[in-house]
């Protein structure tokens, strides 16, 4: 079963043509070629960003399977709508917006499902947050402390209401501006600031045992 899967994976990986492989083509050229139906160019283009998109989705959804689905949906949408990309922003910004919207929709859907489930049973769902924290220093105590804090922050972020979480995530984790967050979430800048403030207060409450 596993061997078959590995084999399928190997077969599915599209090898770029020699021309594309040997030349580090500028992004604008790849976009142009991809728009003209060159699949290898599209493949090269997305290969630069797919890990970033997966990471973004994972940090927002805290779930590998969901993150993989978000990446898949994002790439399909990018492929379908590439011709509509007017190059007013960078390709990554455009792809990033698609990914954030796909991830947020998934988050909303999941929140609804959890609400329905919670009528019958006690659903926690956020207990198994993966701990993929790289070593930062050589000091075990420092590493342990950092991990502890990061786990707590992740958990707190996963537990605050979704409308605050998406704003906090985009502003404080991803580092976007209020205006950019407002554009992505289709909110006013004032609403972004308000949610950001409330969300941070939620986090403060949840982390009061650790950060004071």
């Amino acid at each position: 079963m596993l061997e078959k899967r590995i084999d399928e994976t190997k077969k599915s990986l599209i090898k770029p043509k020699e021309e594309l492989k040997s030349l580090p083509l500028p992004e604008s050229e790849l976009i142009k070629r991809a728009k003209n139906g060159n699949d290898e160019a599209f493949e090269m283009l997305i290969s630069r960003y797919e890990k970033k998109i997966y990471n973004l989705a994972y940090r927002l959804l805290n779930n590998e399977e969901d993150a993989a689905e978000v990446l898949q949906e994002t790439l399909i949408r990018a492929y379908r709508f590439l011709k509509k990309f007017q190059e007013r922003s960078s390709f990554y910004t455009w792809l990033y917006r698609i990914a954030v919207n796909v991830a947020l929709r998934k988050l909303k859907k999941r929140a609804k499902e959890e609400k329905v489930l919670s009528l019958d049973q006690n659903v926690t769902g956020y207990e198994d947050i993966p701990q993929e924290i790289p070593d930062e220093t050589q000091n075990p105590e420092v590493i342990y402390e950092r991990k502890k804090i990061q786990e707590a922050v992740r958990k707190a972020l996963a537990e605050i209401p979704e409308n605050y979480r998406s704003v906090i995530f985009l502003r404080d984790v991803e580092g976007l501006s209020n205006k950019e967050v407002a554009e992505i979430l289709k909110l006013s800048v004032a609403a972004v600031k308000s949610r950001l403030h409330r969300g941070r207060l939620f986090l403060k409450e949840k982390l009061k045992h650790l950060i004071n």
Binding site: T9, D39, L157, K204, I211
Partner: protein, 85 residues
């Protein structure tokens, strides 16, 4: 337009807190809020805690994707199939 006299209490301080933390306020307003922070222990503590939380959020570790994950996604993403969708 005539300027309205504002009393810089905790409520007003919190109203501008997002911009205060971003250091994105007109100098005059920023000074008034700073004056309030210096005399209000509660607001000073709030600023300190929120700054720490923002710092921790920024430092949330970057999740390192394994190559196998991306490869698995590729399996279900053959470009030629996308065209037919």
């Amino acid at each position: 337009m005539k300027k309205k006299r504002i009393e810089y209490n905790c409520e007003v301080f919190q109203e501008y807190l997002v911009d205060y933390l971003d250091e994105d306020l007109p100098a005059e307003l920023s000074i008034e809020l700073e004056k309030h922070r210096m005399v209000c222990r509660e607001c000073a503590r709030l600023v300190k805690t929120l700054r720490r939380i923002i710092y921790e959020l920024k430092k949330l570790s970057y999740y390192e994707t394994e190559e196998s994950v991306v490869a698995r996604i590729h399996t279900s993403l053959k470009i030629k199939r996308w065209k037919r969708k």
